[in-house]
Assembly symmetry: C2
Homo-oligomer: 411 residues x 2
């Protein structure tokens, strides 16, 4: 394992030598190769699907694992889009001159070696590899065991393109050890690995955060709230609440809890009840809400739960202050929204809420790298440092200072 | 302990409510209080000095611990300077509008609760407290046991100012448990603590990095190199080499190893030998260097050593490529310099070296927040992520996205 990581680290210097145009060209070759060799990927995927069948994987997981011609084409297309992103390395972030004439430039550089730990979807393999290559990072991929054949087939195709271009295949590496011990070693090798990005269930993320000595950028849960203030435009409020819940309930930026201002509870709750009816959303509420509409009880545990399903907890709160307090206690720092026409209330909410994304009068569903205009997305970071919220390719870089002198010494 | 940290976390919301001018005013009150109550600080410090005497602390450590009127005045002055820094919170870092009219702003915000673990110098207590307060962060200070009385006296004075301004004293907190177990708990409380900054010896930093679940920004060692290329201006080269070593050998941005191009070794080494003579620098060299000048042998271990003393290892290398290779192997990613008049060689070095600061034709001694123009300095980060190199007050912030809508929902 150590030898493997050492090779990965060494190949960072090969990557640094590539010009922007060369990286683009190689990525386009990779996209073509994925397309041309789609049969190999589909055969490997068929093996994974057979195993999934035998081990009784849930149909949701099987759907995430499954590949067909269309999905493989989409993988190739995604690599092509990443190829065309603006070069993330070498951006001059700041620059200035100091008293003695030294010229200082803060310049974006690759992070180095990035380990990405993820689950089922095989397209993460090609996406993550392309994003890391574009940003001149060596990537170590550790996908789910259930997708091992698919991932190996994809990685092999990408590595063949590297080798054809006289580059070490370690630039896109699969972790050789798929076991928990393999992960355990990887996240402790801060000598060789510069960043770990875990994407997956809470258990995995907790484990990695607790045991890693390598810095971690988590892609954790989203327990998102929408607060409808007494000064809300009722039509906007209902449209936004419904959209935030039902447009795609299984994702991290979907709303899990709706907070309604006590001052408007009677009218608002009745309207919400009607609005959610056609979507068959399972509504649960606090005692006050249940006096107005006939819904299930929401327990303390419900308010702590990221359903990722068409279920919604509702709580009546006493104005924006209690809403802020509730979010502070139960929120996961992902995406939070207020619906109000009141300027001062909106400002208060925007400033007091500590989350990656805080919305006024919009659905939390917009928290997304593509929507934000970042191009392909690494994920949604729930870290507070380095990268927060939608993580674009620029977040796969760090910086160094270049200092240009003409013989200056310190007095 | 958990209760203590919970209180610290809770007081973050009080800090958020303060306007920039209020923070400035309170910091100026703190500076005045330090000055007015200098007697209390000096008395506490006398106790620490007595204990230091009894426990046979080294004279270097005693010097770092010692306070007099002048040093206490400097502490007050430093708080005053921090008070006048440009407000670090609320900077709009980026802003744009997306297709559907949503307006996105990326805005700097406090990190939250920051734990700072440090050693002897009591002025770090007031500096760190002021920097964190100015950036609206709650700080948990864990100083050295040998400075406990001084640190408690300083913290008490600052806390009294907080209380006088109706703020919770937990905004500037001293860790109640000074033992290793106290530190151990602190660095694992990611529920309440957002960042740990360890400043001190390698052992401490290694321990914190290995055991923390809270993100860590290290202030680790600086094993800095200067490479004198065959195309160097010899006068500049000698001035820079001497300055980087002798101007203040005990600090992290001082040079530890000098690399000399083989092509100029004879003339350059003789000149260096003469130039270092008046400073009584202990020179150690590789076998090739020792054929030219009569100096001690530098072992493999020497090239791995941060002397922090007036000692220099010298190695003759075969041009810029071997210099880069050597630095990659032995460098600590802090500050590295090349002396050359050759444009292409300079560019090669600037791009290939992965360090926080890479210099052309200047002394590594410039790696410093004050010199860079950041104002008071949190330290020199050897992290690759979040903050790298000289860490100014802006590095005590992170960001969130504020998104302004008018009822937008996702289709």
């Amino acid at each position: 394992m150590e030898e493997f990581l050492q090779k990965a680290k060494q190949s960072t210097s090969e990557l640094l030598k590539l010009k922007s145009g060369e990286k683009k060209e190689i990525l386009l070759q990779m996209a073509d190769a994925i397309k041309e060799k789609s049969q190999e990927i589909l055969e490997a995927n068929a093996k994974d699907m057979e195993n999934a069948e035998r081990s009784n994987l849930s149909s949701a997981l099987k759907d995430r694992l499954y590949l067909d011609e269309k999905r493989v084409s989409a993988m190739a297309q995604s690599i092509r889009e990443i190829a065309m992103l603006k070069e993330p390395v070498g951006r001059v972030l700041e620059g200035w001159e100091i008293d003695n004439g030294l010229r200082i430039e803060k310049v974006s550089i690759p992070i180095g070696v990035i380990g990405i730990i993820y689950e089922s979807r095989p397209n993460v393999t090609s996406d993550a590899a392309a994003l890391c290559f574009k940003s001149s990072n060596v990537v170590i991929l550790k996908g789910g065991k259930e997708a091992q054949n698919s991932n190996e087939a994809i990685a092999k195709i990408l590595q063949d393109v590297l080798v054809k271009n006289s580059l070490p295949k370690e630039i896109i590496a699969l972790l050789p050890d798929y076991s928990r011990e393999g992960v355990d070693k990887l996240i402790k090798m801060d000598k060789y690995v510069d960043l770990i990005i875990p994407r997956g269930g809470e258990g995995l993320i907790r484990y990695v955060s607790e045991h890693a000595t390598v810095p971690v950028v988590k892609h954790d849960k989203g327990l998102c709230h929408t607060y409808i203030d007494k000064d809300a435009d009722f039509d906007k409020a209902i449209k936004i609440a419904v959209n935030a819940k039902v447009q795609r309930p299984g994702v991290c930026n979907a709303m899990e809890t709706l907070l309604v201002d006590y001052a408007i509870k009677d009218e608002m709750l009745l309207k919400l009840y009607e609005a959610f009816k056609p979507y068959k959303t399972l509504l649960k509420g606090c005692a006050v809400a249940r006096e107005v509409i006939d819904i299930q009880e929401a327990t303390e545990e419900d308010f702590h739960t990221e359903y990722l399903e068409n279920i919604l907890s509702i709580k009546v709160v006493d104005g924006v202050d209690e809403a802020i307090e509730h979010i502070r206690k139960y929120g996961s720092g992902h995406s939070e929204a207020i619906v109000t026409e009141n300027y001062t209330t909106a400002e208060k909410f925007l400033n007091a809420i500590d989350a990656a994304c805080v919305y006024v009068n919009a659905s939390t569903r917009f928290t997304d790298g593509g929507v934000f205009g970042f191009g392909a997305e690494v994920g949604i970071s729930t870290n507070k440092l380095h990268a927060r919220g939608p993580m674009g390719i620029n977040d796969l870089t760090t910086y160094k200072y270049k200092i240009y002198g003409e013989g200056q010494i310190r007095e």
